[in-house]
Symmetry: C2
């Protein structure tokens, strides 16, 4: 295969991201959001909220991470943030998926995008911390916009939301502080139990 | 409203992009693709194919354009590439939509993203030419992957696909050349009439 043919094979395979459904509901249609839509909305959040990153970030690297960060779920499936049993095997499942999916690309490019995904997973660089913050804040927003239905379905409390998502503070503390006010408001409105 | 509240109002409104359905079908589920999924896949194409841009591009600007380029369709709706009647009023509808949607943001940021959208529409800068090329090549790929069903439904020929999309050549001539081989193959397989 030529280089463009390999790239097209990767781009074709990645269309399956639209078939991976998440727990969070979309506010207008009230259907479950899929990973492609989620990844797009994270990019829009990163563009809109970049000024609140704790450290200056290279926006191109943030957006690259967000565009590719869920591709491994094509093979590994979505792991719900509060499913502790499935979270245990998540890394191994996703590493195998990364081998296969980034392996469709020309080797130099596959290695580059795989490294970008690993940077996101490690959450050490300013770009990865900010991208991870956005990834945690977005489902909180969706849950609030849809009346906390999925939180109640899964028995999630405000304390659990904070324990799971507080590392958003490492990436964008001002946005995390805003999210905390939204969570307090959700508790006050009865959408989310405090404990 | 605080700055973050304005940004959250914009991010909430923009979730409606997932409810705007396009003509092109997704290959696995065979359902129509929505604008949020489309915008995400364009970002992945831009990342993967950037090396084929005719001119060097600032990838952050390309990705920003692709993330926001269809937001106006929340109000203006999707205009099918071969619907000449609706194409006539498209610009005015979309300009009004841009006023409202980018107007949800803090004024400085709304002006910046509106300028980014106008840059995309004008197709003059290297970034806009490359982004526009990707935007034209993606539905061609989807149509080929789904057996040309939507082309036949709308009476689209190879000559029409080329007339409508050949400015992709201005952004990424190598990728356009590859697309032409895919179109020739589609004609040979009976998926698309030549004339």
């Amino acid at each position: 295969m030529t280089r463009i043919q390999q790239q097209y094979a990767f781009l074709t395979e990645c269309l399956k991201l639209s078939e991976i459904f998440r727990q969070a509901l979309l506010p207008t249609s009230h259907r479950r959001e899929n990973d492609a839509e989620h990844s797009w909305h994270l990019c829009l959040m990163a563009i809109t909220l970049a000024e609140h990153s704790n450290q200056p970030v290279d926006l191109a690297r943030v957006l690259k991470m967000l565009v590719i960060h869920d591709l491994v779920e094509i093979d590994a499936g979505d792991t719900y943030a509060y499913d502790t049993a499935r979270l245990a095997g998540q890394h191994e499942r996703e590493a195998r998926a990364a081998d296969r999916i980034f392996g469709l690309l020309p080797p130099d490019q596959g290695a580059e995008l795989r490294a970008c995904w690993e940077e996101f997973e490690a959450k050490i660089t300013p770009e990865a911390k900010f991208a991870a913050a956005v990834d945690r804040l977005q489902p909180v927003l969706l849950n609030i916009l849809t009346g906390g239905e999925k939180w109640r379905e899964h028995g999630v409390t405000r304390a659990m939301v904070i324990a799971r998502n507080q590392h958003a503070n490492d990436g964008a503390c001002a946005v995390w502080a805003h999210a905390l006010t939204l969570l307090d408001d959700a508790v006050a409105r009865g959408l989310l139990p405090a404990e």
